[in-house]
């Protein structure tokens, strides 16, 4: 239970990073932290029902649940793809606005629109 409370705290820290930091790179840091927290949650929950690695040799019984591990493999690779795309877009935004600060960018868009 304590482990899951700590994971909830990690998730909230990542989410706070997304909504409360003004720098775009800090927001992407928060995205990566949320990804890590959810992956650790699934692996932690799947490991409660067994006590050995899911590789069947002779005489191995009572293995850990292998389904969450297979799903999290995909999740980690997709997470890095999302990070790369987000950083490419942030780079593009910097080239056209000159800053990473989200309030300045919003002000510039407002000034250009009016």
């Amino acid at each position: 239970m304590l482990d899951r409370l700590l994971l909830l705290l990690l998730f909230l820290i990542g989410f706070w990073g997304i909504i409360a930091r003004r720098n775009i790179i800090k927001k992407i840091f928060g995205l990566t932290i949320i990804n890590s927290a959810v992956v650790i949650l699934f692996i932690l929950e799947g490991s409660r029902i067994g006590n050995s690695t899911p590789i069947m040799s002779s005489g191995i019984a009572d293995v850990v649940d292998p389904v969450p591990q297979a799903l999290m493999l995909t999740a980690i690779v997709i997470g890095v793809c999302i990070t790369a795309l987000a950083l490419a877009m942030a780079f593009r935004l910097y080239r056209s606005a000159g800053t990473f600060d989200i309030d300045e960018i919003r002000r510039k868009i407002h000034d250009e629109a009016s």
Partner: protein
């Protein structure tokens, strides 16, 4: 053991989001990935540990360092 690693993860995540220098934050994020890889190995998930170590400490850090090097390094403001 799990609880200890999770506490370290929380401290490193806070440092990532509160540091003034973006490069320091990137190194702290790569340390988060390394600690998660150790945790996965401890929880009987070696496939996920290999993937997380290679992706988090390798590819993700390279992409972040490229983005910071091509733009700016100080986080000015809040």
């Amino acid at each position: 053991m799990t609880t200890l690693i999770l506490v370290l993860l929380i401290i490193l995540a806070l440092y990532t989001l509160l540091s003034r220098d973006l490069l320091h934050g990137t190194i702290a994020l790569s340390a988060v990935s390394l600690l998660s890889a150790i945790l996965f190995y401890y929880l009987y998930a070696p496939d996920v540990a290999i993937t997380e170590a290679a992706v988090g400490a390798g590819v993700s850090t390279v992409v972040f360092v490229w983005a910071i090097r091509a733009t700016e390094r100080r986080d000015s403001g809040k």
